[in-house]
């Protein structure tokens, strides 16, 4: 555990050093390719972090407070989106695993659903759900769910099919019902696959929530903050960078939550852990 922490710190320090070294080099030789290096294109990392503890506007709260609130808001959208998407994805997989016909008929459309850019779908979701008396952020959750359900459905399908044929024969020898086979064999066997999917989905739902805020015109989340600071990039590039750091931390937090849950839930031979 200590070793892991040290490695993590070393990698972080290395990346930091790399950024600053490239920056120093670029400034020293007046690099123009691929882009000019200066305080605007590559702010100091300590300035980005420092910016978090500056007031977000004159006499306003600190930037980190503003971003913290925005991150919590986006986290709520992402979490609801994750729950929604993971449930739908799992149910789709359960349906597909029991019907080859459905699998053949439906799977191509599920794959196709992901080739449509989310920015093309988002406005329609907002229009459809906006007038239903649902809070605005719920539309964003649905958009996040759209990115979440796919990896879950595909991996869950594979996981539900992953049990050994002998393990299924054993179930047949007990005259087990489909329902029993599902709960006692298919689902437990699918857990490692499911958690791999959850890890992908955990980061995807955060991205989905941030992007979804843009067409939904929601100002309270990280998407809104990114849009806002993007406009002031020329005068204060550190604010946008700082926002990106918070967004990344949110994604990492979601990911780690899944990793911890997996360790608690999945009882497997050590080599089966990803």
């Amino acid at each position: 555990m200590l070793r892991r922490g040290l490695v993590f710190a070393a990698v972080l320090a290395g990346l930091w050093a790399l950024w600053e070294a490239y920056r120093a080099f670029g400034v020293a030789v007046s690099l123009t390719w691929p882009f000019e290096v200066n305080d605007r294109t590559m702010p100091h990392i300590h300035d980005m972090i420092g910016q978090l503890f500056e007031p977000s506007r004159r006499n306003g709260p600190l930037l980190i407070e503003v971003l913290g609130k925005a991150a919590l808001f986006t986290a709520k959208e992402a979490a609801v989106g994750f729950a929604l998407g993971a449930s739908v994805g799992f149910l789709i997989a359960v349906a597909l695993v029991h019907s080859t016909l459905l699998q053949r008929g439906l799977l191509p459309y599920i794959v196709a659903s992901q080739t449509i850019p989310i920015l093309a779908i988002a406005p329609m979701v907002v229009v459809w759900l906006g007038g239903r008396g649902l809070p605005g952020w719920f539309s964003v959750s649905v958009i996040a769910a759209y990115l979440t359900f796919f990896p879950v459905a595909i991996n869950a399908l594979r996981g539900l099919q992953s049990a050994d044929p002998r393990a299924h024969e054993l179930m047949s020898s007990y005259a087990a019902s489909r329902w029993t086979v599902l709960w006692k064999l298919r689902v437990p066997a699918s857990l490692p696959y499911l958690f791999s999917a959850f890890k992908i989905a955990a980061t995807a739902c955060v991205v989905g929530a941030i992007i979804g805020e843009l067409p939904a015109s929601i100002q309270d989340g990280l998407g809104g903050a990114i849009l806002n600071f993007n406009q002031y990039y020329a005068s204060s590039p550190e604010s946008l960078w700082a926002t990106n750091i918070i967004a990344a931390l949110l994604g990492i937090a979601f990911f780690l939550l899944i990793v911890v849950t997996e360790k608690l839930v999945v009882r497997r031979a050590p080599e089966h852990f990803v």
Binding site: A167, E169, L170, S173, A175, A269
Partner: protein
């Protein structure tokens, strides 16, 4: 022995595999009586594993009649009249030893107290005390197979089907498992149908050895194993043991028209 008493009764069972039109089994007639230990032996491809699965209603026969415990094989499966052991232990990775053994008991809706009582007895029977809370990957191959046997016997089925259960084990472990199986067979009083391609194993364990030939699988002959019970390590050194081994080997040779390599 009248028909009613037979645990397994096969009448002209034939199995064709649709793919390639291969005839796997042809006109198999066999009766297994209560408390018998029957081995099916033959070279690879003689359909012995398929025959076992037909008895277990895991594979349907193309034609013929399969009666298990006095009912159609399908009904016998629905009534959980047999336990099965595969070549690999087929334990569920996410369950402990105790929970793997309890699996069929959960299917039968036994309550928790009754389950754990039974699991304790089974753990004792297969001598795995202290390993109840281990996961399958923490056990050796021999121990895993013992769990698998305990699971198959946990609900006290009248019939135990075993598909080369010790095929993946080393010779030493295998001989020890053979001894254990005989002890378990005597203590549990069940009837066993055992698939193997080891002649020595078949002769050592069985009351009768059914010799099969390949393509299509037919019964070449049945050898009564009249070695005294209970059998022990000395059994393998008796004159009669070698005679019987030779008898089985010769039956295998006559049945094996394709001239395939014989098992040792």
């Amino acid at each position: 022995m009248n028909e009613q008493a037979a645990v397994v009764s096969l009448k002209s069972v034939t199995k064709d595999f649709q793919r390639g039109g291969v005839r796997a089994l042809q006109e198999i007639d066999l009766e297994v009586r209560p408390r018998e230990f029957i081995s099916l032996i033959g070279p690879s491809g003689c359909g012995k594993s398929t025959l076992l699965r037909i008895v277990g209603d895991l594979v349907p026969p193309t034609s013929g009649e399969v009666v298990v415990n006095g009912k159609q094989a399908h009904q016998a499966r629905l009534d959980r009249d047999y336990g099965i052991v595969f070549q690999d232990a087929v334990l569920y990775d996410w369950r402990t030893v105790a929970k793997n053994i309890a699996l069929p008991l959960e299917m039968l809706d036994w309550d928790r107290a009754r389950r754990s009582q039974r699991v304790r007895e089974m753990v004792e029977l297969v001598e795995l005390g202290g390993f109840e809370d281990h996961y399958p990957w923490q056990l050796s191959g021999g121990m895993q197979q013992r769990v698998s046997i305990a699971r198959a016997l946990a609900f006290d089925p009248p019939l135990l089907l075993m598909d080369e259960p010790f095929g993946a084990l080393d010779e030493m472990t295998r001989e020890r498992m053979n001894m254990e199986l005989l002890r378990i067979w005597q203590e549990s009083g069940s009837t066993i149908v055992f698939v193997t391609h080891s002649i020595a194993e078949a002769v050592f364990l069985s009351t009768r050895v059914v010799v099969m030939s390949p393509r299509p699988g037919r019964i070449t002959g049945i050898v009564d194993i009249d070695l005294p019970q209970p059998r022990n390590t000395d059994t393998r050194e008796q004159e009669r043991f070698f005679e019987l081994v030779t008898e089985v080997r010769e039956l295998l040779r006559t049945g094996d028209r394709s001239g395939e390599e014989l098992p040792a």
